[in-house]
Subunit: 262 residues, 2 copies
């Protein structure tokens, strides 16, 4: 069973430099930890925003070089969006969940549902951008679980600590305004915390049984992270205690046939 | 503008006693803070689970004394739930969002959408329960924003600190498995953190502009809280910095006519 200690610390690693294509994210994380005087300990979870990995993987796209398909052009006209962006959104997704003027919510190829397949134009300019090129957008990482696993391996080897890694992104939500951090990649910690077997103070089995651990860790980290604040793109959440797990972040995605809102 | 410091602390106040009808929640909070040696400081947010307020307000219902309406009986047969529970769910809600076998998702009279109008049977037994009575369930607090405001006033008067209070509950979600903490009551902090005006590292306005601050604070707290773990029903989140706000938690609820998933 996972148990939390009574205190968590949520530590933003300041001054993470702008990541460029080919950068070694594990080396950047080690440097950031050292600058912040944080020595990784068992149970620490490193939360890395998807932007960091996308940039390191070179997932930049120059919209001026994208040729929209007929389907993308028609959909773009319907929702009043750039047809080149819609083309990328369709390539990155397996289906459209909802559409409206200026809104395109899709099921991403990674399994989750979100606006624009997570593609946006913030911090999307590559160092190599030629004068007059663009506008540029950034796709989500190719395989955030694999990136999380690789980052975990490197940091565990360097530190000797047993840690977790979460790759986070910002999600909009049905019913509720404002974005929250969520997990799109996961390594080392169970994305879902199964509390079946826990009992209430009367000894009754708890009715709420599975907590979205990785999403809540990402939400926590989002409170101190930020794209605008000095590049706080890496955050350590300290104080959890969890068994190692190989479950991917997609363990948090409902299957469409079990989703009343698909 | 709200800014976060580089570190947050999330501190569960242990051994909060079982709350009973009529208990003074502010007095319980002051005692719990003192036991945990936590002195409230400017910017602290006290997160209280809805259970605490529901129990203090005596929102217990003995199902054996509930008379289901015809509508509740029909709906209960359709979704295979206890008709007396369905009667309470309908009384607490303004409309049904989705229904399926064993599932009833409604828009609560407080504005948010969730399963069973937040009514459940965990920790729902009143001290006054007579032998053979029940089963018992607990409704959500009558007015969680008002309770949050009153708790804030009492704790600010006692401490001299400017704080926020969030009343939290566990929410299921479309698309994603597992529950997350969310805010159903709010006082002193802006439930939504409007980042319009912030810029990315290239000086481009950020595309994601409003963060669900109170929900993320509730999610943070949920990681250390719990109904089963020694009654950790109160949590302090320390390290945020925010302007005072009178916005209620319902500022986070999308209006049905603007919700593509209503």
């Amino acid at each position: 069973m996972i148990r939390c200690r009574e205190r968590l610390e949520v530590i933003a690693l300041p001054f993470v430099p702008r990541v460029e294509r080919g950068d070694d994210v594990a080396a950047l994380a080690r440097a950031a930890l050292e600058r912040a005087s944080v020595t990784l300990a068992d149970g620490d979870v490193l939360v890395v925003t998807s932007k960091v990995l996308s940039r390191a993987e070179g997932r930049f796209v120059d919209l001026s070089r994208v040729e929209p398909s007929e389907r993308a052009a028609a959909l773009a006209a319907e929702v009043a969006k750039d047809p080149r962006l819609v083309e990328l959104i369709l390539r990155e997704s397996t289906g459209v969940s909802r559409k409206a003027k200026h809104v395109l919510i899709v099921r991403h190829r990674l399994g989750f549902v979100g606006a624009n397949a997570g593609i946006d134009a913030s911090n999307a300019l590559p160092a190599s951008a030629a004068e007059g090129s663009g506008p540029w957008v950034l796709l989500l990482p190719e395989d955030p679980d694999a990136s999380a696993r690789s980052l975990r391996r490197a940091l565990e080897a360097a530190s000797g600590a047993r840690i977790g890694v979460v790759v986070s992104d910002s999600f909009g939500r049905p019913f509720r305004l404002g974005t929250v951090g969520g997990a799109i990649g996961c390594a080392g910690l169970p994305p879902a915390w199964d509390r079946r077997g826990d009992r209430d103070l009367d000894g009754r089995p708890l009715e709420i049984t599975v907590t979205a651990l990785a999403d809540q860790v990402a939400a926590c980290a989002d409170l101190v992270a930020g794209q605008a604040d000095e590049g706080r793109a890496m955050v350590v959440v300290r104080g959890l205690s969890f068994p190692a797990s190989d479950d991917p972040a997609s363990a948090l995605c409902r299957r469409p046939e079990e989703d009343l809102y698909a």
